[in-house]
Subunit: 148 residues, 2 copies
Amino acid sequence: MSIKGDVMDESSSPSLLYAVKQVEQVVRARLDAVLRPHGATALQYTALTVLQHRDGMSSAELARNAFVRPQSMADLVSALESRRLVVRVKDAADRKRINVMLTDEGRAFLSACEAEVADLERTMLRDLTDHQVKVLRSALNSCRRSLA
Amino acid sequence: MSIKGDVMDESSSPSLLYAVKQVEQVVRARLDAVLRPHGATALQYTALTVLQHRDGMSSAELARNAFVRPQSMADLVSALESRRLVVRVKDAADRKRINVMLTDEGRAFLSACEAEVADLERTMLRDLTDHQVKVLRSALNSCRRSLA
DNA sequence: CATTGATTAACAGGATTCCTGATAATTATG
DNA sequence: CATAATTATCAGGAATCCTGTTAATCAATG
């Protein structure tokens, strides 16, 4: 009885593009399950965490950061605003720009999910050494940079 | 002028869940761009490559492998069938099962995309040593297994 | 052997996430 | 100043995800 997601395991040296996708798929599924009771999706959560690091980004910036079209991100931000997790604030210095800011509710939401998400990450990394985690992190960042 | 996708770079030790998602996002965008002229999406392509490795999987198996609900995969397979890239064949030994088989067209499609996709992967890994690639691969597989 | 449980496929409806195409306003550039 | 670049928004649509439900088939159990 095989473990889920192992059709193309190490034995067949599959594409690393595929390996990344597999991990992302299982993360997404697991994250969605964690977040659903809180009323959000994995992607929405991701956008919120980005804002947590750099509040006040424009929708266009968020889109670029996520490698999607501006409109895609605008729709996501719109949904977050509907849920009152963010507000959109006209930029004083640049009137065509609208900054996306976390609300207190948004911050509370992130706090509420934090433990479970951290648990998920801990589970994901449980069989890796500290060194492997370090290499993984820098390799992923290298991959992203090379394709960005 | 920052590189796209670097809001939470190494300097702030972000979630590895996020790092995976970032790479997946840029891969998906790049892969979509490569595949669009061929008339398919990154996800459809991924499903086809899985079948390339193990032809005749059922839709339910493909779903499990991809960590999505059966219906989600059924819809994707349905789209692939419409494009004649796969056929669905009743299983002789188990009449409730339908095996998804690559067509010649499906195979030809994969061949047509192969060079460009390989190029993409090469680009992704260009700044990594062989050793780092090796660690990356096994770490990703470990992550997947731990969450599956 | 009959019943129950598990698995597979499919229908239906809907939300989310992605894209393209287009328009308008604002800022940057030469 | 005119043009180019950037931002946001409207519109429409495809793809991808889910939940809920039903029916058929196989597996397990007593």
